[in-house]
Amino acid sequence: MNLNSNIPSGPLASKWERHKFDMKLVNPANKRKFEVLVVGSGLAGASAAATLAELGYKVKCFCYQDSPRRAHSIAAQGGINAAKNYQNDGDSVHRLFYDTIKGGDFRAREANVHRLAEVSRQIIDQCVAQGVPFAREYSGYLSNRSFGGAQVSRTFYARGQTGQQLLLGAYQALSRQIGLGNVQMFSRTEMQDLVLVDGHAKGVVVRNLVSGEISSHSGDAVILATGGYCPVFYLSTNAVGCNVTATYRAYKRGAAFANPCYTQIHPTCIPVSGEHQSKLTLMSESLRNDGRVWVPKKQGDARKSCDIPETERDYFLERKYPSFGNLAPRDIASRAAKEVCDEGRGVGPGGLGVFLDFEDSINRLGENSVQERYGNLFNMYERITGENAYKQPMRIFPAPHYTMGGLWVDYNLMSSIPGLFVLGEANFSDHGANRLGASALMQGLADGYFVIPYTIGHYFASHDQFKPSTSHAAFKAAEEEANTKISQLLSIKGSRSIRSMHWELGRLVWEKCGMARDKEGLANAIQRIPELREEFWQNVSVPGSANELNVALEQASRVSDFMEFGELLCRDAHNRDESCGGHFRTEYQTADGEALRNDKDFSYVAGWEYQGDNKPPILHKEPLKYEEVKMTQRSYK
């Protein structure tokens, strides 16, 4: 396998412009002859499906939810970055590019990130034209706020529901194309396998989640926009249905999986309350604009927050990172919170929490202003914890939130399988080892609205195209495999619930491969996960049959992939003998506890190639070359 990034030549700032000209085009009248299968209908999938249909391609779109409007992009709260420089505060494409590269701890591709910063501006224009109700000033112009890892205000937002509004914009664009008959939508339909014919991705096998029917769809190209893999930790801020199945099964068909160990633990989530918990809830990072993070200076201080005098509080982010303060990037803020909790200074049940305090802001701005900015978040906090955050500080703790790793893609967003494109969180491309706040929405929409419409045409125009029939042997074999896997799951009839197996896997991965990792713990996890997998296949209980709506079967199928994927995640973390961004190996840290990179040996993208069940995958390396930016020790002090 050759991981050739296909980065165009020329100066960084003009690569994309030039590449757009160099790429081959498909004649407007010929576009309708090409059929594209889009799996996933979040920001990346919906925007790609809508845009490709607008261009004239035939599109089929699949999602496991009951409607494309429900994809988990909808839950993003804080905002979307764009280098508009509307605030006249020194922002530029180059600064957004630089912040993203630095925020990613110098483990992202320069050319991809620069393109992302360039198209960020068009995204805002597009969304406003669609009727996305971004926050505005009294002047009628768009409002911005600042976000972690940046010293300019470049984040556009729609109250605390930016993801919802952007997704509804993309959903409406997609709905328009469905209404016009240009997109065929398949909801409550889950991808089971990717089908290759002559080495090219030419179709998918899917399961209708209502009838249980397994069927095939063939196309000229396949796009996966199926999100990340956070639920490998069981507890995360992802939706309970989020899963790795589509990307993992593509990996098993030969797509390289890149940097799975780059996982983001978000610092501001509501702490765990008990074992019954099914998910963790994020409190938007934007809260750190006006909230101050602190813990008591004394260990085991059980006093109420209001009884702890100012002099006995440790505002540890402001203390350690004076220039970024409470807006330090996510990986750094999370690790700092873990450190103070490890020192026994955490607050709340089990000492697993830190305060996020709004008292100063309420005194400065008034409760009404704070309510206007964050009212829905304060309400959400109260619903979950029963506590009023206007009167007492919130308690927060880090939780898995986003995965920077994903299927490997080249500059054209094509995976190592020709004809298989991967967009949004599902690919690895733009965030390096750590993603900055408000950049996920930007990347999902950049990929879907402004990158894939160009690059997919180039693929169609530069290969001899053929669309196989679904009666081709490759489809029949993949259907057969999908059916066999389902009957195997149903025939185990063991005694353990799917949830308990998932919970056990998640706890293991969280302990060994969560916020802090070490070689020994990872080696232990790599040994334990296959045992757990064995137990899953011996002893899990999956009731019901294949030919009905069977929620247990859906869950079991997804968990079975996590049982394999968890091992890949730990292997990648085990291989990467350095700390960078969200991947923190305790053996590699500076004297003051910051991540210590090893640029000499590890400035590469790790692409893993599947070798068969229970065989270790092979590692391929794509070297990262920095032409524009000088790699430095990241500092937010």
């Binding site: 925007s47 845009t51 607008e54 939810q65 009951d66 409607s67 409007r69 429900r70 909808i74 839950a75 508009k84 068009q122 805002i124 224009d125 597009q126 969304c127 406003v128 034209a129 669609q130 009727g131 109700p133 971004f134 926050a135 505005r136 009628g140 112009y141 768009l142 729609a158 109250r159 529901q161 993801g163 919802q164 509004q165 409406q172 664009a173 328009r176 469905i178 209404g179 909801s187 939706a239 309970v240 249905g241 309350s273 008990g274 019954h276 099914s278 809830t281 994020l282 309400n379 959400m380 619903r383 029963g386 353990r496 619930s497 949830r499 009731p543 009905e548 709506l549 069977n550 247990a552």
Partner: protein, 252 residues
């Protein structure tokens, strides 16, 4: 706490369905309502019984997937709260709780507590958008929008499309849902060129899907987890009337 649950079980769309009683013991007040059901389901699946099928995804009140009628009220009657955000601290030890799916003809039950809400997607497909194809749009600050209008649009756009409004309405009317989208786009300058056609198409599609008429009882607003205001229905009626008159005028 210990609870008795009366839950609607229905194998598929053709099955008649019935209430089945379950016990939920040692329920923690910190659990969400759906986590309580998860625990009941864990007990059922480990015995090899079919779990109670219910829809949920984000579990933070924004995706609009969860759809339970709890003790006769969609989402369970806590103000501005979806079923997934409803916590067990609002229930009493020993209480008996009835759990049903949305009940409305345009939302047929697929299994147990899961319904098919594609009728909502169809309504949006008929015109609930601005026809702004990707690319070629003006700079985002080219057209100022008053803060008041932007805020009103956002109030309407907050709808999560869960369908509680339909489930609460004695006529299964979808007017609150449709009015939210019509008002969101109709308040913004970007939505003006298609304003009349949008409202005509969406109302037509709503009627064709079998949703009933609105008699402005306000049951929808009372259960809406996003507190979408009844005022938007007035706006819809006004926009619809204006569009009908204009199209009649054009027809002459």
């Amino acid at each position: 706490m210990n609870l008795t649950l009366k839950i609607w079980r229905q194998k598929n769309a053709d099955d008649a369905g019935e209430f089945v009683t379950y016990q939920a013991n040692d329920v923690s007040p910190d659990m969400s309502f759906l986590e309580m059901l998860d625990v009941v389901n864990e007990g059922l699946t480990s015995k090899g019984d079919a779990p109670i099928a219910f829809d949920s995804d984000c579990r933070e009140g924004i995706c609009g997937t969860c759809s339970l009628v709890i003790n006769g009220t969609p989402h369970g009657g806590q103000k501005a709260t979806t079923a997934c955000q409803l916590h067990m601290r609002h229930f009493q030890d020993g209480e008996s709780i009835t759990i049903e799916p949305w009940r409305a003809r345009p939302f047929p039950v697929i299994r147990d507590l899961i319904v098919n809400r594609q009728a909502f997607d169809k309504v949006i497909q008929s015109g609930g958008y601005v026809s702004a194809s990707t690319g070629g749009t003006p700079d985002a600050n080219a057209i100022p929008v008053s803060k008041e209008n932007a805020d009103t649009a956002m109030d309407a756009a907050a709808c999560i499309g869960c369908g509680a409004c339909v489930a609460a309405c004695k006529n299964a009317s979808a007017m609150l849902f449709v009015s939210a989208k019509v008002s969101h786009l109709g308040t913004l300058p970007q939505g003006q060129p298609e304003k009349d056609q949008r409202v005509l198409s969406m109302v037509k599609s709503m009627d064709e899907a079998g949703f009933g008429n609105c008699t402005v009882t306000g049951a929808c607003e009372a259960v809406c987890p996003k507190e979408i205001s009844l005022d938007f229905i007035s706006r819809l009626n006004r926009d619809y009337a204006a569009a009908v008159v204009k199209s009649a005028w054009k027809g002459k």
